[in-house]
């Protein structure tokens, strides 16, 4: 190690002389005298963690991660990779953004506040709903917060939350964990060929239902065709309609507000983040009349003393640091920096670029399904629906074996049933489509 602090934190700037001067100003003989810890609980052992120079630490982490296989991923199922423009990395890494805290002093953090205001605005355009918060953790936690919102705002009592059969187990798990304390029960309604079955939903819904949830695109990659019916059924029973989606899909799909969605949740990190082992950005949008019950932070426009436009966090009386146990949510640290990245990525694409990207998600999936379908022993897509980014394919071979054989060829897909694999294609992996089809042909 090198630097002024030879045996300690490389980021503590103290010279020995400064340390001495400070100790004497405080009036103690040594740093140990400042710790007011009873001997019986003092720690005098070692963690056994080696101290390393920066180069060694970097090499150490790099060599750990180098153990990952360099496979081409055709994976989706709730977590999507799009090519992230270099501008997103370079701008979001500017340290004034990266090393700042929550904007509790708005006069000195206008830059981040404006970026978050712009993020909110772009999602208002994409969802058609008036309120977008400044982020939740991910799709699953945003869905859970939506259910809690529904329980709070609904006029009549009702503790049932209806979710479709295709909901991912891990999302349901988070939903149940979050809503258990509020006494909500999560129940499933039937689906038909990977879309909502309106009749099954009509059977399941009653006036005890606080929220009905549906997704488009669905977990199996289909575009939902019955959103209007879901909206009407929810409306008839006074339940909130919550739609799960993402900003790329929303660029071309029906505007959620137009089909009666009261809340939109999803993972906005489909724009802005690489795969990042599941790290996300919870999108949360809702109708204007719920604004005082919204979880999380909101950035609003205001004026400063010179009557110029300025931005600030607002309605903080809903939040945990003010309202404590009566807050609308316990969220504090959120995903602000990811929201910044999403905003930059969306602005980089612009309206035309976003629509093109979304249309590619439709076209690429349809093309790839066609190509796999022409392989003997493969049928794709399994569902006779429109698809977005991904689709399920039937294989005569056991799906697990197909997935493992593909992995040996350097490709990752999901095995989702005994004879079903799921395949996702976007601008991030389309360059490898030919090799993928060739490998699939070999193993199927």
């Amino acid at each position: 190690m090198s630097g002024r602090n030879e045996r300690g934190s490389p980021y503590a700037p103290h010279t020995d002389a400064e340390t001495e001067a400070m100790l004497s100003a405080v009036g103690v003989g040594g740093v140990d005298d400042l710790f007011d810890i009873p001997e019986s609980v003092a720690f005098d052992g070692e963690f056994g963690i080696e101290s390393r120079g920066e180069r060694e630490a970097e090499r150490h982490v790099g060599s750990l991660l180098a153990r990952n296989d360099d496979h081409t991923e055709f994976l989706g199922r709730g977590h999507y990779a799009h090519y992230v423009p270099s501008l997103v990395d370079h701008i979001s890494q500017r340290s004034e953004f990266l090393t700042s805290y929550t904007q509790y002093q708005p006069e000195i953090t206008q830059g981040f506040l404006q970026a978050l205001f712009e993020y909110q605005s772009m999602l208002v355009e994409l969802t058609g709903l008036e309120i977008v918060n400044a982020s939740m953790y991910d799709h699953a936690t945003a869905l859970a917060e939506a259910a809690l919102l529904a329980a709070r705002v609904r006029a009549v009592d009702g503790d049932r939350v209806l979710v479709p059969e295709y909901l991912l187990d891990r999302r349901r798990d988070v939903l149940e964990n979050y809503t258990d304390g509020a006494g909500l029960s999560v129940e499933t309604y039937g689906t038909d060929d990977a879309n909502v079955d309106p009749d099954a939903l009509a059977d399941a819904i009653d006036d005890e239902v606080a929220m009905v949830y549906a997704e488009s695109p669905t977990t199996r990659g289909t575009v939902e065709e019955h959103l209007d019916a879901v909206g009407d059924l929810a409306d008839d029973h006074g339940a909130l309609f919550c739609l799960g989606s993402d900003p790329v899909a929303l660029s071309v799909l029906q505007e959620p507000a137009s089909v009666g969605a009261d809340v939109v949740v999803g993972d906005a990190a489909a724009l802005g983040l690489p795969t990042a082992y599941g790290m996300g950005l919870g999108l949360f949008a809702c109708r204007e009349d719920f604004v005082r019950q919204v979880p999380g932070r909101l950035v609003g426009a205001s004026e400063d003393d010179a009557e110029r436009r300025a931005y600030t966090l607002t309605l903080q009386t809903r939040e945990q640091h003010i309202r404590r146990e009566r807050a609308t949510s316990n969220i504090c640290t959120n995903q602000a920096w990811v929201a910044l990245r999403t905003a930059i990525h969306a602005a980089y694409l612009g309206p035309g670029g976003l629509v093109d990207l979304a249309n590619d998600c439709v076209g690429l999936a349809a093309d790839l399904a066609d190509r796999l379908d022409s392989i003997t022993g493969v049928r794709a897509p399994v569902h006779d629906r429109h698809h977005f980014r991904e689709f399920v394919a039937h294989t005569d071979q056991p799906a697990r074996a197909v997935a493992e054989d593909l992995e040996a060829e350097g490709f990752a897909v999901h095995a989702v049933g005994e004879h079903e694999v799921q395949v996702c294609i976007t601008d991030a992996n389309e360059h490898a489509a030919d090799e993928f089809v060739a490998a699939f042909e070999e193993v199927a």
Binding site: F47, S95, E107, Q110, Q120, N177, R308, N359
Partner: protein, 487 residues
């Protein structure tokens, strides 16, 4: 300190106070384009059009660069925001988090992402050692999510003992972080607020009175938000455990204790780590953070699924796999949490090691005590660990904070905890030099001598002048669409 923050409104004569211009205009004001949506999908499944800004890459680069210049981070200057532990974020951790090998999909097979799992297993191990805990889950995506997860674990433990219904209270000190209260309520518990004792610490008699067979958990940070070490922590643990409850450690203030004391050794059963505080991962303007949870061995079976463990392959090679703890509470995040933050955390700990971590706490505590000794405001209680709470006395703490911005420093946390009147909660962390601390003390003292009129007129040297919070809340404008509707 001399200071001027960027404000993109100077006119040709250099007049910063011109009211003609706005700040950096919104993207929407530069060039908004409406495009028709033409798609292979049926018309009834698609939208008609979409309207968003349409700018070139160079225009966007300038827009966001200007926004960044109108923002203040740790790299801009001192940031002694109490309880937030705003320390310098080393840059090399960004490089390792940006490695292509770090970007993998969460549904990859375990055998194809051995590097990711090795790092996770390594971080679980580092954190367990640092906290004196037996098992760690990395899944919670923030400190408050860690609290909520810890409470779910405690609930599962009590349920397994047949006490799930009867233990329906969580005790929280009045000085605790607001998230403690909110997390307890989210999990469905009654919150029992514990008043602080006269010395600012836990009042053992009050705790004795509050603890009962209804107590599921007592949530405590140590040192507490006043910067005071809870010296009676062993008695506290005994009272809670004797009542059949569990003791929860809020890790927000762990930076004061690294290598000096460990929550596990003090009798805590569950804890979370705010890695964006203690382990210098950037706060990113409010997130992402990560809030790993550590527990003692009796509670490991309830941790969120999956966790990561080391396994030995048939050929004797060491490897790693994900596994679901036996009685897991399930999941608290859709996948495995904020992975990129975890990479940076691991890299930071691997850089500092034993010596660096111990020294970080030593210098953080030295800095807090030195700064406290140099400023004129009244500072009740003591001695301090990593932070202290000064009282602005007759001045309004919020105005003091605004005026401090003019001196080029981010101000302390204000008006909290409420047990100190006009509180200025100050945490300089280990990264400030004596010279900077002296400048900080000068800023405090200069403001202390100023009249209310000066304070109320502040700030003057920041991008925005004082912002009207009341009108922001009364006349809600939360998008550029709302601004347009008003025009």
């Amino acid at each position: 300190m001399k200071y001027d923050q960027a404000r993109w409104t100077h006119d040709a004569d250099g007049d910063r106070d011109s009211t003609d211009d706005q700040y950096e205009p919104l993207l929407s004001e530069k060039n908004t384009e409406e495009v028709a949506v033409d798609s292979a999908l049926p018309e009834d499944l698609t939208r008609d059009s979409i309207e968003l800004p349409d700018l070139s890459e160079p225009e966007l680069a300038r827009h966001y660069t200007r926004l960044s210049q109108m923002n203040y981070g740790v790299d801009s200057g001192p940031y002694p925001l109490g309880s937030c532990t705003m320390k310098y974020n080393p840059k090399f951790t960004e490089d390792v988090a940006a490695l292509p090998s770090a970007a993998v999909h969460p549904d990859r097979s375990d055998r194809s992402v051995q590097g990711t799992l090795a790092l996770m297993a390594g971080l679980q191990d580092y954190l367990a050692r640092i906290g004196g805990m037996d098992a760690v889950s990395l899944q919670p995506p923030a400190g408050a999510a860690g609290e909520f997860t810890g409470i779910l674990v405690a609930k599962a433990f009590h349920e397994a003992n047949g006490e799930g219904e009867t233990r329906d209270e969580i005790i929280v000190p009045d000085s605790a972080h607001g998230t403690n209260f909110a997390s307890a309520a989210l999990a469905g518990y009654e919150v029992v607020e514990l008043p602080s004792g006269e010395d600012g610490r836990v009042d053992l008699e009050a705790l004795e009175a509050a603890a009962s067979d209804r107590t599921a958990l007592f949530m405590l940070t140590n040192p507490n938000t006043l910067g005071l070490f809870e010296r009676d922590i062993e008695e506290v643990a005994d009272i809670v455990h004797d009542a059949g409850g569990l003791l929860y450690y809020d890790g927000a203030n762990l930076n004061a204790l690294l290598g000096q004391a460990r929550p596990g050794d003090m009798g805590f059963d569950i804890m979370h780590y705010n890695v964006h505080k203690t382990f210098a991962t950037p706060h990113g303007g409010g997130g992402p953070g990560a809030g790993p949870v550590g527990v003692v061995s009796d509670l490991a079976e309830f941790l969120p699924a999956p966790r990561v463990r080391e396994v030995e392959a048939s050929d004797g090679e060491k490897g790693y796999e994900r596994f679901d703890p036996e009685n897991s509470v399930g999941k608290v995040h859709g996948f495995e949490g904020n992975w990129l933050v975890l990479v940076k955390t691991y890299a930071y700990i691997a850089r500092l090691g034993d010596e660096g971590l111990r020294d970080a706490s030593a210098k953080a505590v030295l800095n807090a005590n030195y700064l406290a000794s140099q400023i004129g405001y009244d500072i009740p209680f003591g001695p301090f660990h990593h932070e202290f709470v000064a009282s602005a006395g007759d001045q309004d703490a919020a105005d003091v904070a605004k005026r401090m911005l003019d001196y080029g420093v981010h101000p302390p946390t204000t008006k909290w905890p409420e047990i100190v009147p006009e509180a200025l909660m100050t945490e300089p962390t280990e990264i400030e030099s004596k010279e900077t601390l002296d400048q900080l003390a000068d800023a405090f003292d200069a403001v202390a001598d100023e009249d209310d009129e000066t304070l109320e007129a502040a700030p003057n040297r920041t991008t925005a002048r004082r912002i009207d919070q009341t009108s922001a809340a009364r006349n809600l404008r939360l998008s550029w669409q709302a601004l347009d509707a008003e025009d």
